[in-house]
């Protein structure tokens, strides 16, 4: 298309009075590699429009399945419910502990006593174990002394051998 016709169309284009067909003509003209320098800004404009028109929806549309965002929402709601439930349960069970009957209190105290007894005995046997430790260390010392004796023995034997020679 001749330049002056393009320029006429551009003037109409700027006034917003071009038809879709005329605008398509302009787009095809400006899709060519080089345009006169004074029309360079139009080329930018139309290239941008062409580029943007090629942007596609990156995700596929689903209508049968539930919206994943909604599912996420339901999941968080369910999680909150579970947390509330456990909190509720722990609070109520704690209340049960506070209102013990006499029998239960007695049983509770008895169990505590029994545990204390066991713990005391444990400590005692621990002490016994300590004395065992003490014995073990004395044995260790004795062993060392025996080793020294053995060395002494070897040296005396050597002396004896020298003497007999």
């Amino acid at each position: 298309m001749e330049l002056n016709k393009i320029e006429d169309l551009l003037e109409k284009y700027n006034e917003g009075v071009t038809s879709l067909t005329e605008e398509a003509q302009l787009r095809s003209y400006f899709s060519q590699e080089t345009v006169p320098p004074h029309l360079e800004s139009y080329k930018q404009l139309f290239s941008y429009f062409d580029l943007d028109a090629k942007q596609f929806l990156p995700t596929t549309i689903k209508v049968g399945a539930k919206n994943p965002k909604k599912i996420r929402w339901y999941a968080s709601a369910a999680a909150a419910l579970v947390i509330l439930f456990t909190a509720f349960m722990s609070i109520t069970t704690q209340k049960d502990n506070l209102t013990l009957s006499e029998d239960e209190l007695y049983a509770y105290n008895e169990t505590l006593k029994a545990f204390q007894l066991i713990s005391n005995n444990m400590n005692k046997s621990n002490e016994a174990l300590n004395s065992l430790n003490l014995i073990s260390s004395s044995i260790e010392k004795g062993k060392n002394k025996i080793a020294m004796l053995e060395k002494f023995n070897i040296s005396t034997n050597k002396i004896f051998k020298l003497k007999t020679k």
């Binding site: 930018q44 290239s47 941008y48 429009f49 942007q55």
Partner: protein, 172 residues
């Protein structure tokens, strides 16, 4: 009247689902939010599918719906101040990153277009990128054709003026 099946429905919307996405992205700026918007509006159309075949132009109906949905979204964002500040920050870096891959001079066109007043921006998108007739745009935006032409003319002139400014900036 028979209700549309899922595949029939998808067949009807597939020619313009990308248009819906692009319009949503132009209004909301963020790609992710535009995807969500498109998905939401398609679900709305699906639940009203018995009406869809009544419309002469389901495409124009869908565009009107997504436009309203996005404007509502923007309005609700304005009431949540902290969120909008954060989103604005994110969105700009994202759109910037996306467009850096593209030619630098084209990036400016997008930038200038995004900074137009809301109506001018949308009219330009609907006409020069989505190629709708003036009568269609008029019914989508609930404006008369003259007002559409005026907004369009202003938008086209403003962008070109800004482009010649940025173009000459390095030379002068």
């Amino acid at each position: 009247m028979s209700i549309l099946s899922e595949s029939e429905f998808l067949l009807i919307i597939s020619p313009f689902k990308d248009k819906m996405f692009r319009i949503a992205r132009r209004i909301l700026v963020s790609v992710e939010e535009a995807e969500d918007a498109t998905q939401e509006v398609v679900l709305k159309l699906w639940s009203n599918r018995h009406k869809l075949s009544d419309y002469k132009n389901p495409e124009a109906y869908a565009v009107t719906m997504i436009k309203n949905w996005c404007y509502d979204k923007l309005k609700s964002k304005h009431t949540q101040n902290i969120k909008i500040v954060h989103n604005n920050y994110e969105d700009h870096s994202q759109s910037l990153q996306k467009s850096i891959e593209v030619n630098d001079s084209l990036r400016w066109v997008g930038f200038h277009m995004d900074s137009l007043p809301a109506t001018q921006k949308l009219v330009l998108q609907l006409r020069d990128i989505e190629h709708f007739e003036f009568s269609e745009i008029a019914s989508m935006l609930d404006m008369n054709e003259t007002a559409i032409r005026v907004a369009l003319s202003r938008a086209r002139k403003i962008i070109r003026e800004k482009l010649t400014h940025t173009h000459n900036y390095g030379i002068k």
